[in-house]
């Protein structure tokens, strides 16, 4: 049933309420502009109801303030009966009853009041009856989020950064080609942080089945435009969504240095779960044991969280149960100290310096899922 009893005939000339309201708003606007609807009129419209508690104070949005108010509220009861004839007797009866139990009720109320106040002050952390937990939590979350953003300078335009410091496609492809043989004949290789799809292209050119995930929606779109299978997803979240033994290889170039060590370990554990026996994993990351990398170029990218020394990364893989774990370095530095020195001791020292300062700029740690 509807609220329209008997379906009344349509109103002869329907009143265009929207037009009327538009005119009303125009009037208000004009009066504001001319200063007639001034700040003191505004103040009148916001005037509180005098003489007691704010109306509608028990708003669920502000329960702490309402609680403070309720604690200080008196309880008023008027025993007067307005009934004709018997009213006076009822009133008298009520007064007598109230008089008799007054001290008993007062004692109970006093104890309850004490409990209420103790409870309220037990939550009162800052000397006021408003710990405002939710507010503080939100502030903390906001500040934490801000810290995370500032830590990796997410407010910087990453496009410019990529253009100036990011690797070019031929370089990336050349790096990946080094590991091509590991993936030959495989059907479902995952490229973690697949970017524009350079690795995926290499896989396709060699008839290897592969797909990618990337956090950057624009990168995923570009990869898809080029005909690759790519998804916008966080790597660990994606791995968690996969069934066990559902992929047969993984490749992750320049991702480990962007995440916290705990996240890296979690990624390794998930990979152990989803990789088929014998499948390879390759992680490429800056070789921070070369000091010009570890002390300088590594920090060119503000989104790098922390450097991972090669022996540590290898240890993580071994610890998580990968087998045949090895490390290779590549991308030699362009600058070197001259080793053309006649004194053999000095020459050895220069070589050591060259290895330490101007060694290879990237390394890869390679591991395998144990055979069944």
């Amino acid at each position: 049933m509807t609220s329209d009893p008997g379906s009344p005939p349509a109103v002869p000339e329907r009143v265009d309420i929207d037009a009327l309201l538009a005119e009303v708003r125009a009037r208000v606007r004009r009066k504001r502009e001319r200063g007639i609807y001034s700040a003191d009129v505004d103040a009148m419209l916001r005037a509180e109801l005098p003489g007691g508690a704010r109306l509608l104070a028990d708003d669920v949005k502000d329960p702490i303030a309402a609680l403070a108010q309720a604690l200080d509220e008196g309880v008023v009861y008027d025993p007067t009966s307005h009934k004709r004839f018997v009213g006076a007797f009822i009133t008298l009866g009520r007064r007598v009853t109230i008089g008799l139990i007054r001290w008993w009720v007062a004692a109970i109320l006093d104890r309850q009041d004490r409990i209420d106040r103790l409870l309220a002050s037990a939550y009162d952390v800052e000397g006021r009856l408003a710990p405002r937990f939710g507010e503080r939590l939100e502030r903390l979350e906001r500040e934490f989020e801000r810290r995370r953003e500032h830590e990796v300078a997410s407010n910087m335009h990453s496009g410019y950064f990529q253009a100036r410091f990011g690797g070019t496609e031929p370089v990336i492809r050349e790096q990946a080609e080094r590991f091509l043989d590991l993936y030959r004949g495989r059907t479902r290789v995952l490229d973690i942080a697949s970017g524009r799809g350079v690795f995926l292209e290499l896989m396709r050119d060699n008839s290897i089945g592969a797909y990618g995930v990337d956090l950057d929606q624009r990168m995923v779109a570009t990869a898809r435009e080029r005909g690759f299978e790519a998804f916008e997803s966080d790597a660990v979240a994606h791995l968690r969504s996969l069934p066990a033994s559902s992929i047969d290889g993984a490749f992750a170039r320049h991702i480990a240095e962007h995440i916290l060590p705990g996240d890296a370990v979690e990624m390794l554990r998930e990979l152990r779960r989803v990789l088929q026996p014998g499948s390879p994993v390759v992680f490429i990351t800056p070789n921070v044991s070369t000091l010009t990398v570890g002390a300088h170029t590594f920090w060119m990218d503000p989104s790098h969280l922390r450097p991972i020394p090669p022996d540590l990364f290898q240890f993580w893989l071994e610890l998580e149960g990968f087998v045949d774990v090895s490390t290779v370095t590549f991308e030699p530095s362009t600058e070197h100290l001259s080793e053309d020195v006649s004194d053999p001791v000095v020459r050895e020292n220069v070589r050591l310096l060259n290895r330490t300062l101007f060694g290879d700029r990237d390394y890869a740690v390679i591991g395998h899922q144990p055979s069944a």
């Binding site: 609220s3 009893p5 309201l21 009303v24 009037r27 009148m44 003489g51 508690a53 109306l55």
Partner: protein, 360 residues
């Protein structure tokens, strides 16, 4: 005229309080006349009768003696009361007419007693659901609340309004009192925090500063049940310099009520909770344009026959009143639409639908 195969003998109605000049009590008495005219024994029972209706009512205790399984008991519900629990045990068939419950948060800080009864009402409404054969909401808004409270068999039938009550000569003294005042903003309804008379007073402050410095606000309605809110309203008017401009009439006679409606520049409601809103329709019936904030059942009762304000902006509310006062084109269209709207609440139609819904 049978229900569940048995002939209904009597149709009795109950509400804890019945009082003169109250829309729900009027509704109950109007229904009683209809029930009687259809050949049923019918009375109005209550716990407390206020004012001159006392002679028209019977005490609720008599229901425990005389009621038989062949009777239909119509429980009107707008507040919690301990008596409902007792009446629910009666063996009669039971129907519930829901007029909605003013949410307790409106009373906090001004009337903790009313807040407690409102909370009790919500609990009781749910508890009664399995014992009620048929539940009627007086608006779709109320019917939805019934469904939410667990009622299976529901219908919407509006309040039965006895329009003849308003077909009287307007009281001369009221007309004299308002003579020469250009802007008379009117609201009719109990003084109660949910009706937000405080917002009407603030709105008047705007009206006098930005539109007409001589405008007045007439608040018709009893303030007996809300003494604290009433005294604080007066303090608010005083603090805004509006003491003489806000006129509280208290309870009025029919002739006075008609005079206020007829003299008013417009009827304005900023109420935030109405289960139906009879005065909105009374204003339309008497040719007063309606400006109302769209809350609870107000929108469906007005149904585009008045200016429905989609948001609570007091400056806009005042300007809307001014527009319908000044622009005779708008005013006439609203008055016409109001007259048309009122036809939808023709008593015979509403009575027939009540009868159908109750299965009589």
């Amino acid at each position: 005229m049978t229900t569940a195969g048995r002939r209904v003998r009597a149709v009795h109605q109950f509400h804890p309080i019945l009082s003169a000049g109250d829309a729900m009590s009027d509704h109950i008495f109007a229904l009683r006349s209809r029930f009687r005219s259809w050949g049923y024994e019918s009375d109005a029972f209550c716990v407390e009768a206020k004012g001159e209706v006392a002679a028209e009512t019977r005490p609720y205790r008599e229901l425990f003696r005389g009621t038989t399984p062949d009777d239909l008991l119509v429980l009107h519900f707008s507040m919690g009361h301990e008596v409902y629990d007792q009446l629910a045990k009666l063996r009669a068939r039971k129907a519930l007419v829901f007029h909605n419950i003013t949410p307790p948060q409106f009373f906090i800080g001004v009337n903790s007693h009313a807040a407690a009864y409102a909370r009790l009402g919500h609990r009781q409404l749910k508890a009664l659901a399995p014992k009620i054969d048929m539940a009627i909401g007086v608006s779709e808004f109320d019917r939805r609340a019934l469904v939410e409270a667990g009622y299976a068999n529901t219908a919407t039938v509006p309040i039965l309004i006895d329009w003849s009550r308003l077909d009287v000569e307007p009281a001369e003294d009221v007309r004299g009192l308002l003579h020469g005042i250009k802007t008379k903003l009117l609201f009719v309804g109990r003084i109660s925090p949910n009706k937000r008379q405080d917002d009407l007073i603030r709105m008047l402050a705007y009206y006098r500063r930005c539109i007409d410095p001589d405008a007045i606000l007439i608040l018709v309605g009893s303030h007996r049940d809300q003494p604290e809110y009433y005294s604080r309203l007066k303090a608010l008017a005083e603090s805004l310099g509006l003491t003489g401009a806000v006129r509280f009439t208290g309870t009025v006679t029919n002739a006075e009520l008609v005079a206020y409606y007829r003299e008013a520049s417009c009827f304005v409601s900023l109420s935030e909770h109405e289960g139906f809103g009879v005065p909105l329709l009374e204003a339309m019936y008497l040719g007063t344009p309606v400006v109302a904030f769209d809350a609870a059942a107000v929108g469906e009762t007005v149904d585009r026959a008045g200016v429905l304000l989609p948001r609570k902006d007091l400056a806009e509310a005042a300007e809307a009143c001014a527009l319908v006062n000044e622009d005779l084109g708008w005013r006439q269209r609203l008055v016409d639409a109001g007259h048309e709207r009122v036809k939808a609440f023709d008593p015979d139609t509403v009575a027939a639908r009540t009868r159908e819904a109750l299965g009589l």
